[in-house]
């Protein structure tokens, strides 16, 4: 029976509950005696706090307590730490300003929390929050990352607002490559700042049991164990064994729910301090202000080519905006998740990248779907396409000339990574075929007859996923190991409970992981239940991010399932009075090799717990096995995306008329779920390319603070995506999977922007390609044509 569930389009087990309103999200949880919190936030991007006056708020109806930043200081709470140490070129450590749970004397971004009000009802809490008088003295804000290092210093310990000046690669070799070039293509670009917009806003429900001195925090987290670790070991609100963190159903994360935020931390602290059960659910406008934003890079790059179009060197300089404080993994995003991906799918022999990360008076910036890899892919794939145009080469052909060949793996890039496997030509060929690339000119002419400008753009992306080999991550500065845990717990009747340290908030783990384990053990999928998201139920886990769940968490379960089989063979050998070597597992049956006697999986499960005659010195009862899986390398999903757009020259409106994505995710457990992940990623990537941008004005006010001004993609912005797969299984994990969660958001923006640039005859616009920008570009194009 083994192999019968892998690759099957099994309908998602969790969907019935989600689509029938039976999901249980943090805000759905009802507890007796619950109180409600509302946060008081800074209306300024930067200001001194002169004083708090909470008397009126305290006297308001229903109010139980008001806690300000001053109480945080009095209680000696630690700051919110950043978990990844980056060293500058000169060897010095990155500079990290203190990130308070609630600000006490200075606020550094709009919306930064300074106090929380706890009341009997949500309305009373919100009303009283308006009565907390905070005397702010506004200060000049630093908003623009490009000039932040020349602006007024925001933190004494951070000269010039520079967090670090990082580099990777061989500058001399890269300069030599540029000197030897027959052609150099240069590019300046901005990677637009994004706001994550998970459908479920952040929420927390903290309860304190004075009898056991335990805090239980229900919260919207992608990694509840990390929440517990940081709140206890760093912020020190309680000892680790006295805090249980539960992340129930969570409605989307995209990275934004990895991080440890002020609000959830303050709630857990307040619950214990006041002996209360407290609930807080963010309003959408709070999400806009305080969920960690994404991207926000300004870059310039030079690509050196030989006369034959061979890439000789790539040199990149990037300024990355960290916002006001370092969020949990912020420092790693523009460095080891960005600079290391600049080789792309190519043999470029010399690469050098410098990244200056700066602080500004804006919300903290951290990982958002793709995290660093979209920024790298956008830069590489834009400059490659531009080089092809400048040299008069077909962009597909230029890429082919530079691809790492399928026989060249493992391949060591000049930017630290060793790709284990891939077949870039296969994905490109398949994508070109699915896109009818050869007949584009016909479609372009037909569009022209309707007055439309049609363009086509390619993007051959690669990403490093399966975060992360702990040894490598540790050497690069990670503060934690990035393995994953899993447990396969066989119940006495033969059904199986699977516990995983990764967390599902839309990805469908309850189905994919059940398929994986059911397949390995030969069980019906209905007999396998997946449990996740509760520090009280499993030992430790690192959670879900960086497309790691199947490649790392799934691998842990695969190893744990193998251990169950091994234990089952021992039990079978005992029951059948033979040697273990004489037992074979032909899922779901344990068979004797030299006879026709056998035991079913259910018989073994029952015998594991009803063990009246066990040789107890040789065989323990029970059938539950754990595994901690630490990957040997990153995984490297890669593929080709091809976009076709039509531009209405009179309005500048861009329509994506065709989008082809061909991805190599290695072994696929459930193609339906994978395609869903690709679709979602493409929607977010195309949203970044065409619509989305977070804008602060020059005083640090967020002027895209609602859906009126921050444009989210909708179904009518997309064509029917054409999705295809190729497969080179990952060579170093037992599942063969590479990860698929982020690829769509990584590969698609350059494909869209290359298509627009193509349609505009080479005139470049920055993301998002709004109709205004595109219309102006059309006017420029017309002026150039007539000149």
């Amino acid at each position: 029976m083994s192999g019968s569930l892998i690759g099957k389009r099994v309908l998602r087990k969790e969907d019935h509950r989600f689509v029938s309103g039976k999901g249980r999200y943090t805000d759905d949880i009802q507890l007796v005696g619950v109180t409600y919190a509302a946060f008081v936030r800074s209306p300024y991007a930067r200001a001194d706090i002169k004083s708090f006056d909470v008397s009126e708020a305290l006297a308001a109806p229903g109010v139980i307590a008001v806690l300000t930043g001053e109480e945080v200081v009095k209680d000696g709470l630690g700051g919110l730490p950043c978990g990844w140490m980056i060293h500058s070129k000169d060897g010095s450590e990155m500079r990290q300003p203190h990130h308070p749970v609630l600000a006490a004397d200075r606020v550094n971004y709009l919306g930064e929390p300074v106090a929380l009000v706890i009341a009997e009802t949500q309305l009373e809490a919100k009303n009283a929050a308006e009565m907390v008088m905070v005397d702010f003295e506004p200060l000049t804000a630093v908003v623009n990352p490009a000039t932040a290092s020349q602006a007024e210093t925001l933190y004494e310990a951070v000269p010039n607002n520079v967090c670090y000046e990082w580099e990777l690669g061989d500058e001399a070799a890269t300069d030599a490559g540029l000197a030897a070039a027959a052609h150099i293509t240069t590019l300046q670009l901005t990677n637009n700042r994004l706001i994550p917009n998970a459908i479920e806003p952040r929420a927390a429900l903290a309860e304190y049991n004075s009898g056991t001195d335990e805090i239980i925090l229900h919260t919207t987290s992608q990694n509840p164990h990390l929440v517990r670790l940081i709140m206890t070991a760093f912020v020190q609100i309680a000892p680790e064994h006295k805090l249980r963190v539960i992340a129930p159903d969570v409605g989307g994360g995209f990275g934004s729910k990895i991080f440890i935020y002020s609000e959830e931390t303050a709630l857990a602290w307040a619950a214990k301090k006041l002996g209360l059960t407290i609930k807080w659910t963010a309003e959408r406008s709070e999400s806009f202000l305080t969920d960690a934003h994404g991207r926000d890079h300004v870059s310039e790059a030079q690509l050196a080519l030989s006369a034959e179009g061979e890439f000789l060197a790539l040199k990149v300089k990037t300024i990355a905006n960290m916002g006001a404080y370092l969020s949990t993994f912020a420092s790693a995003v523009p460095t080891y998740l960005y600079g290391t991906l600049l080789a792309g799918q190519y043999r470029t022999p010399a690469i050098y990248v410098e990244v200056d990360s700066v602080f500004t008076n804006t919300a903290p910036v951290d990982a958002y779907r793709g995290a660093g890899r979209p920024e790298a892919t956008y830069l590489v794939e834009r400059i490659v396409e531009k080089a092809a145009a400048e040299m008069g080469l077909d962009p597909a052909e230029l890429r082919r000339r530079n691809f790492i060949g399928r026989d060249q793996f493992p391949y060591q890039t000049p930017v630290a990574l060793e790709y284990d496997t891939g077949d870039y030509e296969a994905s490109l060929s398949k994508a070109l075929e699915m896109a009818d690339y050869d007949t584009f000119a016909t479609r372009q002419a037909e569009a022209a007859s309707r007055g439309k400008l049609r363009g086509i753009g390619l993007s051959c992306y690669i990403e490093a996923c399966g975060l992360a080999p702990s040894q490598v991550a540790g050497a690069l500065g990670a503060g934690v190991g990035l393995w994953e845990s899993g447990e396969v717990r066989v119940n006495p009747t033969g059904s199986v409970t699977v516990l995983t340290g990764s967390h599902s908030h839309g990805q469908g783990h309850e189905t994919t992981f059940a398929q994986l384990v059911a397949d390995r053990l030969g069980l019906p999928i209905e007999d396998v239940e997946v449990v996740h998201g509760d520090t009280g139920k499993l030992d430790f886990g690192l959670g879900t991010y960086g497309s790691r769940s199947l490649a790392v968490g799934g691998s842990a379960l695969s190893v744990a399932a193998d251990k169950v089989v091994e234990k089952g063979r021992k039990i079978a050998a005992h029951l059948l009075r033979t040697d273990v070597d004489n037992i074979d597992f032909d899922a779901p049956v344990f068979k004797m090799l030299d006879s026709n006697e056998s035991k079913t999986f259910q018989e073994i499960a029952f015998a594991a717990y009803v063990n009246h005659d066990y040789p107890s010195d040789e065989l323990e009862p029970g059938l539950a096995e754990k595994a901690f899986y630490d990957p040997l390398n990153f995984t490297y999903p890669a593929g080709t995306h091809i976009c076709e757009v039509e531009i209405d020259p009179d309005t500048g409106v861009v329509e994506v008329v065709q989008f082809v994505a061909v991805d190599d995710f290695g072994t696929i457990i459930n193609p339906m779920i994978v395609e869903g992940q690709v679709h979602g990623g493409l929607a977010q990537g195309i949203g970044q390319a065409l619509l989305e941008q977070a804008v602060y004005d020059d005083t640090g006010q967020l002027i895209t603070g609602s859906y009126m001004d921050y444009c989210m993609p909708r179904a009518d912005n997309f064509p029917d995506f054409k999705v295809g797969m190729t497969c080179t299984p990952c060579t170093h994990n037992p599942v063969g999977a590479k990860g698929c969660g982020e690829a769509g958001a990584i590969g698609s923006p350059p494909a869209v922007m290359n298509a627009i640039t193509h349609a505009l005859g080479g005139i470049e616009v920055d993301m998002p390609a709004t109709s205004e920008k595109v219309w102006r570009a059309v006017q420029t194009m017309r002026t150039l044509k007539t000149a």
């Binding site: 008081v40 936030r41 009565m131 006010q701 603070g705 609602s706």
Partner: protein, 164 residues
Amino acid sequence: MELEQQLVIPRAVDAVWLALNDPNMLQGSLPGCQRFEQVGDNAFDMTVSAKIGPVRATFNGSIALQNLNPPFSYEIAGEGKGGVAGFAKGGAKVSLNAITEAGLPATLLTYSVTATVGGKIAQLGGRLIQGAARKMAQDFFTQFVRRLCDDETLDLVIETIKEP
């Protein structure tokens, strides 16, 4: 945010100037004004309620009349805090020119308004602020002129709005 508007008022410059310095005129013309107290020479504290887009807020603030050049120009500088709703800061330059309209002495009043807002009203009101500020300014001067003129002369008022 900036906007500029011109009004032709069928009253002599001196009369308009006096009205512009009359606390009762200012208070009566200010939309949503709940409290208006003189706290010094040309300085006033006030409470104003306003609705900007979906946000209704009460602002506690102050205004000061500055750079007085009687009877030709002055500046109004003001700021208000609306609690959780945010804050608003702004100013208006007002200048008067003596003209003749229909053979009678009249005044060309020009005002330009700048305003910045922060907090929730900036976040939610992005595209609404221009409109809200313009409406407030227009309401103010409409009331002002109405109080200054009688019914017959009111018809002679000419408004021109210039926006950047």
